[in-house]
Symmetry: C2
Subunit: 331 residues, 2 copies
């Protein structure tokens, strides 16, 4: 197996210095057309292309971004990853997908990303407390952090998110007009951030309306299974006084699981007995089997803003983008 060709080899073949070779591959460098052609031909012959690793070492720029993710159960992650990788690649960036779990926690992952000299770290749908960043091992010159699709309590870390207040207001006004009066909220395992945001906005609306205390249902994970379990648990044990006419779920995947239990296991009708609403507008929600009323996040705008901040084309500060309400048959 022959070794890869280097600038030096190309230089020899073209009869120039290796710096001239570099120039031929540097947009905007000053080089004579004649020698440029010579170099490019030699490069083609030797099958040469610049070693990006060496370039990164010299420029202190890898054009790699680490994307941290800790939840692979929600299919909603997929369209996000699709847009994110696509937008990154269009800018010559590449996405390192980092799985945050018990064996590889945030601190671990941050140190590793730092060692690999990534240009930025995107916390996608995951977050941690301020203290984590105070770990002594996370020194200066640390890669820039961003929180995507989630609110951030972290100082100096911008969050790029869907406008939760706007979304929940739109949803609530719709539900209110439809006549729902005894709403419940099904939340996932997250105590903080977006989870909190959606729940808080929802609760605030109904308490302003003079509704009784919000009934809360807790799911253990963000998955259809967990949504189903939580729903079953609730319908089995809830006392008549906590009877509800609507379940607002933190996201679609919980809502799908919940709806199945409501209809198939308890023989109730959606939306006649209980209305149900999700969030995210995953592909399945459009399926008539679910017909889920939901809210679509503005993925493209969010991704665009994230990339722009990473590239320094946009100021590093939190933004919320308005999404789109998608009424269907479930509420």
């Amino acid at each position: 197996m022959r070794k890869r060709a280097t600038a030096r080899a190309v230089a020899e073949m073209a009869g120039v210095s290796k710096w001239t070779v570099i120039r031929a591959f540097t947009p905007g460098a000053s080089i004579a057309p004649a020698s440029r052609d010579k170099v490019l031909e030699a490069a083609r012959n030797l099958n040469y292309s610049p070693n990006l690793l060496a370039r990164s070492l010299a420029t202190n720029l890898t054009r790699e971004i680490a994307v941290f993710i800790d939840d692979f159960a929600n299919p909603h992650k997929l369209p996000f990853l699709e847009r994110l990788t696509s937008a990154a690649q269009a800018e010559g960036l590449v996405v390192m997908l980092i799985n945050i779990n018990i064996h590889f926690d945030h601190v671990h992952a941050l140190i590793n990303a730092d060692q690999r000299q990534v240009d930025a770290v995107v916390l996608f749908g995951t977050s941690f407390r301020d203290e984590t960043l105070r770990d002594k091992r996370l020194g200066p010159g640390f890669p820039k952090l961003f929180v995507l699709a989630r609110d951030s309590q972290i100082k100096d870390v911008p969050a790029i998110n869907c406008d939760t207040e706007l979304a929940m207001r739109e949803i609530c006004e719709y539900l209110d007009a439809k006549g729902y009066r005894r709403p419940a909220f099904m939340a996932g395992p997250r105590a903080l951030s977006t989870a909190l945001g959606r729940r808080r906005c929802f609760r605030d609306y109904w308490s302003r309306k003079g509704s009784p205390d919000l009934v809360e249902i807790q799911a253990e994970r963000y998955s259809a299974q967990a949504g189903a379990d939580a729903m079953r648990q609730f319908l089995t044990t809830a006392s008549p006084k906590t009877r509800v006419d609507l379940i607002m779920c933190e996201n679609d995947i919980l809502a799908c699981g919940a709806k199945t239990v409501i209809c198939n296991e308890f023989g109730l009708s959606v939306p006649d007995d209980i209305g149900i609403v999700g969030f995210d507008n995953i592909e399945l929600s459009a399926d008539p089997a679910y017909g889920l009323t939901t809210y679509e996040q503005p993925i493209d705008e969010m991704v665009r803003a994230t990339i722009d901040m990473i590239l320094g084309r946009r100021s590093r500060q939190s933004v919320n983008f308005p999404g789109r309400f998608v009424p269907r048959s479930s509420a």
Copy 2:
């Protein structure tokens, strides 16, 4: 913003040469415990950790693997990515997620991965023809290729896959015993590889059984929507003589879409009027709304084998692992 500490700075503080510092961070290097301690303490003080980029340049090993993926519609990709990133990280590898699309095709992506000096490229559920590799720009010393979750027609490129023949035999014998006699196959857009494999095995079984020519239904993408469209099209236009009693779908996401149309739009009963079978066992298939009879791929074994081959702990040759038949109510 101070600069990152280097081995050189640590050496000065510890009063040793920088090579001794390197040794302190090289497992199995010969170094006196005393100087090791000195170095490690200085390193802690300066918040030093080795620059993996520089290391990669020197060792010619990045411990990065590129994972090519061209389909983000199928939720089945998510558990695979979860296992893959997790297993990779456990071995000190990191996954670069590369989105293959019209703007960034296989050749493009291969050249870029090569320039970034990745240790391996995993074609995950995507593939290309032999000719692609004959592109003159793809020279010697090219990163090692692997095809995951798909068969490969590419020479010298091992494919790690679920045992399709075994799976389809098990499925077919079950269906046969259940009394199905007029099966159809719904395929996705792929003309090659696994798609072909599942269809071929299915067709072969029924033709051996003396069944009429296999009815084929074509979906345009791998998504619930596409499965629904294909199903609607078929049920609307099929002549009575092509009446079928079973739809074997290439995967679950197509099956889910198809089932919805069968039940909700045509008022047919599953499995009484038409049975339906999928492949992959995505989370939703377990949902009673679908209750899909399906087949689960041995993700863990497949991922393990892939990583082992990349690390040279297993010989680079194609393997098929048996999965698990999951009978439910849909057939």
